[in-house]
Symmetry: C2
Subunit: 175 residues, 2 copies
DNA sequence: CCCAGTCGATTCGTTGACCGAACCAACACT
DNA sequence: AGTGTTGGTTCGGTCAACGAATCGACTGGG
């Protein structure tokens, strides 16, 4: 977590994962990346995160190969951050944690619902499709607002009010 | 995370989960609980965590219903912390994160290997049994040291050098 | 050319969580 | 009485997070 000290001595895959992805805000940044957020200003507006912290997290995730920073426009220079294959493989972990939170820490029901885009079935708690029985890769998952949906009013929240496929860019950024 | 501010406004199950379980050390405490660690002093010895922080985390997890603090002996008074059903349901998330870390952030291979106790098959990346095809509940999982096992020398690390079933107490504490 | 606006940051002073060592209370054993 | 174990609490010091202000590169408008 790079919070003063690392988890030195914890010879454990979990500890190593947490040093990168366990810092404050980091997993929420990754979650937004799955939602299709790609630009600094959109992360900023959706997360209410201090600018310096966002810049640091994006840099760390890029350095670790979870995100790829690429210039999609040269005049003026504009960069976007996109999940790499390594980043996309965080989906099961993200899904499991989020599902756990929804089941045990929520009073209003989930704020977003995930379903298999091919058959419309809501995902099970491991991210699998109950009717097909197989784990669903994120690009085949559709997000929709759920019963506990919030009332934020930033461009990202507004765009997420309609069904959206994971990993698809939220805004028509030049690919 | 209760780090200065909470994730106010992040109306999201993931954010709620992270406020509890996303703080530094917390998931490692839960991991140790799955390993069968139950006593304050054992967490302390295995994690190299500041005493105050451990006390705070155990209290928070207990308050949230993830751990159950119970007195297993009255003279002298001794308490143990045991995973509740809610806590045990964190297993898929823990497994997914740990597996991700092992695949992408490890140079020596996993420090511990998990396998289905009924058939001996090593678990897949979602915590499922590749040969049975079903998700394996933690009480049916066996931990063994893996190729990247460390060289710590505390009672917990020593006890974990031999195969051990998850959730079983590491030491013969009176149940 | 000049000015306002946007994007992606960096800088800075303050707050607060984490760290590690010391201390403490309750109890058991000798 | 003295020593040891367990399960904490207390206390400075340090370092990361916070939020506001600033900045540099660029564009489009007048």
């Amino acid at each position: 977590m790079a919070l003063g000290k690392d988890y030195a001595g914890q010879d454990c895959s979990l500890a190593r994962a947490l040093e990168l992805v366990g810092e404050r805000w980091t997993l929420l940044v990754v979650r937004d990346a799955f939602y299709g957020v790609r630009r600094y200003s959109d992360f900023l507006a959706h997360l209410d995160i201090p600018r310096a912290v966002l810049a640091e997290r994006l840099q760390a995730l890029t350095a670790a190969g979870v995100l790829d920073k690429r210039r999609y426009q040269h005049a003026p220079p504009r960069d976007e951050y996109v999940l790499t294959e390594i980043g996309r493989e965080l989906w099961p972990a993200l899904r499991a944690l989020s599902s756990w939170g929804a089941r045990h820490l929520s009073d209003t029901g989930p704020s977003r619902v995930f379903s298999h885009v091919h058959c419309g079935t809501p995902l099970g708690r491991f991210g699998e499709c109950p009717s097909c029985g197989d784990p669903v890769p994120p690009q085949d998952v559709e997000v929709r607002p759920g019963p506990g949906a919030g009332t934020r009013d930033d461009p990202v929240s507004r765009a997420l009010r309609q069904p959206h496929r994971l990993l698809e860019p939220l805004f028509g950024a030049p690919s």
